[in-house]
C-alpha cells in the first residue's frame, strides 16, 4: 500500500489526472490477455522518460514495485501486477518521432501501436516486419519487452532483429541509451539485446530506434487444405527442404479452423487443417515460388490449394487466422496457451507427439501458429471446474515441454516466461544459467523493484492459482 505522501508525489511527477488510485482504474489495469487479476495500488501515465525515471527512483527509495505496461495484451502475465505496486502505463507515450527514409530507420515511443506505425510506414513504402497476432492493438514497447515474433518471423526474424537502439530507464532510475542508429555497432556489451525480451524486469523502454526494410514489391497468399494434420505438418518441412522461404507459413489444425470459421464467415473451410502461406518479393519470383509451393502441398496430401484473388480475401483470411487464439474459447471455457518452438524438420514429430498426449490424457489440444519457423501455439483446452481436466491439462503442459526439449526446441518462442511459465524454466535452463541471469537482475535491480514475480520462479505456483480468478 502506498501512503498519502507517496501518492501525492506520484501525482506531482506525472501531473494531475495522470495518476489514479481509484478502484475502477485499478481494476482495469489488473490484467493482461492471460485473464488473471491482480490489482495494483496505483496506475500512472507518464509522458516522458524523465517522469518514468522519477517514478522509478521513488520506487527505490519508498520500496514499491514498478510494473511497466503497454497495451496489456501479453500471454504470460508480463504486465500483471502480481504483488501490487505502481503500474506505469506507457499509453500516453505514443509518438512516432522520426521516420528516416534515407537510412531506413525510425524512432518511436513505446506506446505506439504496432499497426499504426506500420500504416505510417506504408506511406513511405517502408516495412517493419514483426507482426505478432496482436499487432492491431499491442504496442511496440510491449513487443520489445517480450521480443514479439509473428507469422513473418520465418523469413524476417523477430523484434530483436529490428531494434538498433533503445532509451531505457534502468531499475535504479538512470536513463541510458543503448545501441546505435547504424546496422553495425560493437562498442561495449549489447545492452539492447539484453533489454529486448527481458519482460520489463531490467528497465522501462522509453524510446526505440528501429531498423526498416523496403516494402516487398509483391505478395501472394495461398490457402492449402489438408484432411490430415500430419500431412500439413509434412508439407511445412518439405517447403523448407525445397529451399523456399515463404514470408509466412501458418498452420491451423481442425479445431482452430472450426472455431475461427465460427467466429467469422470468411471463407475458411469448416473441416480439416489449413496452411496459410505467403510469399513476397519481386513479382516473377513470387509467382514461381507460389507455383512450387502449390505442387509441394498437393504432393503432401492437400485436397485443395487456393490462391487468394483479391486484397479483401487476403484480409479476411488473416482476420480468421488472428482470431484463432481467442476463438478457441468456443471449444472449452479455459485453456493453457503455450508457444513452443522446434527445429522446422521436427514439426511433424511435434504435432504427432501432441496428438498422442491429447489422446492419452483425453484432452482437446489445439495446435496452430507459425509452423514455418517451428513455432507452434499449443492450446490445451479444458474446463477449470472439471477437476480431472484441470489436472490433466497441467500434466499435458509438462509433457508438451518435455517433448519439445527432446526435439531440441525451446518452451517459449515469443510469449515470454512471465508468471505462467516461471515454474518451468528449470526444464530448459541449467541452474548455472538461471543463476547467471539472476546475477544480472540483481546487479541492475538491487532492490528488486522492477516487475517482480516474473521469469524466475519466486512465487509458488499453487498460491498463484489460488489468487487467479
Amino acid at each position: 500500500m502506498l501512503n498519502d505522501t507517496v501518492k501525492k508525489e506520484l501525482e506531482r511527477i506525472v501531473g494531475r489526472g495522470n495518476a489514479s488510485f481509484e478502484k475502477e482504474d485499478l481494476i482495469c489495469y489488473s490484467y493482461d490477455a492471460t485473464n488473471t487479476l491482480y490489482a495494483p495500488d496505483a496506475v500512472v501515465f507518464p509522458r516522458t522518460a524523465e517522469e518514468v525515471s522519477l517514478i522509478v527512483k521513488m520506487a527505490n527509495s519508498e520500496g514499491f514495485p514498478v510494473i511497466p505496461r503497454g497495451a496489456g495484451t501479453g500471454f504470460t502475465g508480463g504486465s500483471v501486477p502480481v504483488v501490487g505496486g505502481v503500474v506505469v502505463s506507457l499509453e500516453r507515450m505514443k509518438d512516432v518521432i522520426e521516420i528516416d527514409a534515407e537510412n531506413l530507420t525510425a524512432v518511436v515511443e513505446p506506446g505506439v501501436v504496432l499497426w499504426e506505425f506500420q500504416q505510417e510506414l506504408e506511406k513511405f513504402s517502408l516495412f517493419y516486419p514483426p507482426d505478432p497476432t496482436s499487432l492491431k492493438f499491442s504496442t511496440i514497447g510491449g513487443n520489445i519487452a517480450e521480443c514479439a515474433g509473428g507469422p513473418r518471423a520465418v523469413k524476417y526474424g523477430v523484434t530483436r532483429d529490428y531494434v538498433l537502439g533503445l532509451e531505457v530507464v534502468l531499475p535504479t532510475g538512470e536513463i541510458i541509451n543503448t545501441g546505435t542508429r547504424t546496422i553495425k555497432g560493437v562498442v561495449g556489451y549489447d545492452l539492447t539485446r539484453l533489454i529486448i525480451g527481458s519482460e520489463g524486469t531490467l528497465g522501462v523502454v522509453t524510446r526505440a530506434t528501429l531498423r526498416l526494410l523496403p516494402m516487398p514489391e509483391s505478395t501472394r497468399t495461398l490457402l492449402a487444405l489438408f484432411p490430415e494434420i500430419k500431412d500439413a505438418a509434412r508439407a511445412v518441412s518439405s517447403i523448407i527442404k525445397a529451399r523456399i522461404i515463404p514470408s509466412t507459413l501458418e498452420l491451423m489444425d481442425s479445431t482452430s479452423v472450426k472455431c475461427a470459421s465460427e467466429h467469422a464467415e470468411v471463407g475458411l473451410p469448416k473441416e480439416g487443417s489449413v496452411l496459410l502461406i505467403e510469399v513476397d518479393g519481386n513479382a516473377a519470383s513470387v509467382e514461381k515460388e507460389a507455383g512450387e509451393i502449390e505442387n509441394i502441398c498437393r504432393d503432401s496430401g492437400a485436397s485443395v490449394v487456393h490462391r487468394a484473388t483479391d486484397k479483401k480475401e487476403v484480409k479476411n483470411l488473416w482476420k480468421a487466422r488472428r482470431a484463432v487464439s481467442a476463438a478457441l474459447f468456443r471449444a472449452r471455457p479455459n485453456k493453457i496457451n503455450e508457444d513452443v518452438v522446434v527445429p522446422r524438420s521436427e514439426v511433424p514429430a511435434l504435432i504427432g507427439g501432441i496428438e498422442e498426449i491429447g489422446r492419452e490424457l483425453n484432452l482437446l489440444i489445439a495446435c496452430f501458429g507459425h509452423a514455418g519457423d517451428g513455432n507452434i501455439h499449443v492450446n490445451v483446452m479444458y474446463d477449470r471446474k472439471d477437476e480431472r481436466e484441470a489436472r490433466a491439462a497441467e500434466e499435458a503442459v509438462r509433457r508438451v515441454f518435455e517433448l519439445t526439449l527432446k526435439l531440441n526446441g525451446t518452451i517459449s518462442g515469443e510469449h515470454g516466461v512471465g508468471t505462467t511459465k516461471a515454474a518451468y524454466i528449470g526444464m530448459e535452463l541449467s541452474p548455472n544459467a538461471i543463476d547467471a541471469m539472476k546475477r544480472i537482475k540483481n546487479a541492475l535491480d538491487p532492490k528488486g523493484v522492477m516487475n517482480p514475480g516474473k521469469i524466475f520462479p519466486v512465487i509458488e505456483k499453487d498460491e498463484r492459482t489460488e489468487a487467479t480468478k
Binding site: D25, A33, N35, A71, K94, A326
Partner: protein, 436 residues
C-alpha cells in the same frame, strides 16, 4: 424472440471476455480517451466487478459505462463473440432501474435545464420545447435526447427545427391513406416487369422535426419506382433513444403504438430513412414486444419482417434506377451509420444508389465505418468527447476532397454537419435519398 436481458442474466456473456484486448483496436471512444477504462475489455471488467459487489454504482462506474457510443465495433471484432452492446445496454438499464432519475438526469435533464449556457438561438428553440421537457411525452423525449438539441457549447452547430414538421406537411398528410383504400398496386401487381408495392413510410423524430426534406425525397424516390406510398398518421418515436439509455418501458410503449399505426395501413414494406429507426423497428422491436402470446408474436413478426431501410428497399426490391438531374458533377463520399452497417449489414446498397447516379462521382473515404461519435447518448452526456471522436471522421472526409458526404441517418447528419463545421471541412452533408 427474447426480451432484453437483465444484467443479472448476462453473467455468462460478460465472462466470455478473455481480455485479449482486440477491442482496443476498434473502439472510437478508446481511441480518444486512450485508457483501458474506455475499452470494452475494461468496461466488461468493471461490470463484472459491479456485479460481484466489488464496486457499487459509483460515479466512476457510471461515467465509464456511459463513455460509449454503442456502435458495436467491439462486438463485431470480438473473437470470443461477446455481445458487448447487449451487456452495456443492460448495465445502463440496471443503473436506471436502481438509480432512477439521477442516472437518467445525468444523461438528459441536468444538461437540458441548464439555460445559463444557452445561446439566443437555442433559447428560442428551448422556449418552443420547454414544456415538452417536463411532459412525459415520449416522442419529444426521443428527439431531445437523441439530438441533444438545446445543449449549446461554443461554436456548436445546432440543427434548426423545421418550420413545418414532416408529418404536418400538406403533401404528406394527403398520403395518410385510410386503411385499405386508394391502393394502387398491391404485392402481386406487375407493371413493366416491375413489382409495384405499397410502402408505408416511417418518419422518425429526425426526419419529422429536423429534416422533412429527407422524408419528402424518400417518398419521391419510392414513387419514382411506381410504388405507392402511405404515411400512417399515428406513428411516434421509435423508442430507440429511450432504449439505449436504459428506459426499456418507454421504448416498449412506443413500439406498441407504432405496431398499431402500421398494421392499420396494410403495406408490403415499412420504409424509413433513419438507420437507427430501421434497426429499431426491424430488430429491437422483436425484443421489446416479445411475448408469450402467439397471436402477438405473429403480428410483431409480420411488422418486423416488412421493415426496410430506405436505401435497402430502393436498391433491393424496388430496383430504383437513378439518373443525373442535370446538376454540376459532384464528388460524393459515404459515411456508414453504425446502425445500418453493423446492425443490419447494409453497406453496398447506399453505395450502389450513389454510384448509379449520373452526376455523382463516388470516392470512398478512409475508415467509412468508424462511428461518427453521436450514438449511445454520448453526444448528450459528453459532447466534447463525441466531437473528438468525430474529428477522425471529419479528417477522412476532408482527405477525399468530396463536395458532399452522403449518409443514411439523420443522427449522423446532425453530427457530421457539426463536426465538419467545427473542423473546417467544406463538404456538405446530405442523406443518400436527397442526392438521387
Amino acid at each position: 424472440m427474447k426480451e432484453p436481458k437483465l444484467l443479472s442474466e448476462l453473467k455468462a456473456e460478460t465472462e466470455k471476455c478473455v481480455r485479449c484486448g482486440t477491442c482496443r483496436s476498434i473502439c472510437p471512444t478508446f481511441r480518444v480517451i486512450g485508457r483501458e477504462t474506455a475499452s470494452a475489455r475494461g468496461k466488461l471488467s468493471l461490470i463484472r466487478a459491479y456485479r460481484e459487489g466489488e464496486i457499487g454504482l459509483t460515479e466512476n462506474y457510471l461515467r465509464h459505462i456511459k463513455e460509449c457510443t454503442l456502435c458495436g465495433g467491439c462486438r463485431d471484432a470480438c473473437p470470443s463473440g461477446v455481445d458487448t452492446v447487449e451487456v452495456f445496454q443492460a448495465a445502463r438499464a440496471d443503473a436506471v432501474a436502481r438509480e432512477g432519475l439521477p442516472f437518467a438526469a445525468s444523461f438528459v435533464l441536468k444538461n437540458m435545464l441548464d439555460y445559463t449556457t444557452l445561446s439566443a438561438r437555442a433559447l428560442k428553440f428551448v422556449t418552443r420545447f420547454k414544456g415538452l421537457v417536463f411532459k412525459d411525452s415520449a416522442t419529444e423525449h426521443g428527439l431531445l435526447s437523441r439530438f441533444s438539441l438545446p445543449l449549446i457549447g461554443n461554436n456548436r452547430l445546432v440543427p434548426e427545427l423545421a418550420d413545418t414538421f414532416f408529418l404536418d406537411l400538406p403533401e404528406v398528410k394527403r398520403l395518410a391513406a385510410n386503411p385499405g383504400t386508394g391502393r394502387a398496386g398491391g404485392a402481386g401487381a406487375e407493371r413493366a416487369g416491375k413489382k409495384t408495392a405499397r410502402v408505408a413510410f416511417y418518419a422518425g423524430c429526425g426526419v419529422n422535426f429536423l429534416m422533412p426534406n429527407v422524408g419528402v425525397a424518400s417518398i419521391k424516390a419510392v414513387q419514382k419506382t411506381d410504388s405507392e406510398v402511405v404515411v400512417p398518421p399515428g406513428q411516434v418515436c421509435c423508442g430507440m433513444p429511450a432504449f439505449y439509455m436504459g428506459d426499456v418501458e418507454t421504448a416498449r410503449a412506443l413500439a406498441f403504438k407504432n405496431l398499431e399505426a402500421f398494421e392499420a395501413v396494410e403495406a408490403d414494406y415499412i420504409a424509413t430513412s433513419c438507420a437507427t429507426c430501421s434497426h429499431g423497428l426491424k430488430n429491437v422491436f422483436r425484443k421489446l414486444l416479445s411475448s408469450e402470446d402467439p397471436a402477438l408474436e405473429k403480428r410483431v413478426d409480420a411488422f418486423c419482417s416488412r421493415v426496410r431501410d430506405i436505401t435497402e428497399l430502393l436498391a433491393g426490391e424496388l430496383r430504383f434506377e437513378g439518373g443525373g438531374k442535370g446538376r454540376d458533377r459532384q464528388v460524393v463520399t459515404y459515411h456508414d451509420p453504425c446502425h445500418l452497417n453493423r446492425n443490419q449489414g447494409i453497406r453496398s446498397q447506399p453505395r450502389e444508389l450513389l454510384k448509379g447516379t449520373a452526376d455523382l462521382e463516388f470516392r470512398e473515404m478512409k475508415f467509412p465505418c468508424s462511428c461518427c461519435g453521436l450514438g449511445g447518448g454520448l453526444s448528450l452526456f459528453n459532447y466534447d468527447l463525441s466531437m473528438e471522436i468525430a474529428e477522425r471522421k471529419a479528417e477522412s472526409i476532408r482527405a477525399t476532397g468530396a463536395d458532399v458526404v452522403a449518409t443514411a441517418c439523420p443522427g449522423c447528419i446532425v453530427q457530421l454537419r457539426d463536426a465538419l463545421h467545427r473542423y473546417g471541412v467544406r463538404a456538405k452533408v446530405a442523406h443518400v435519398v436527397e442526392l438521387l
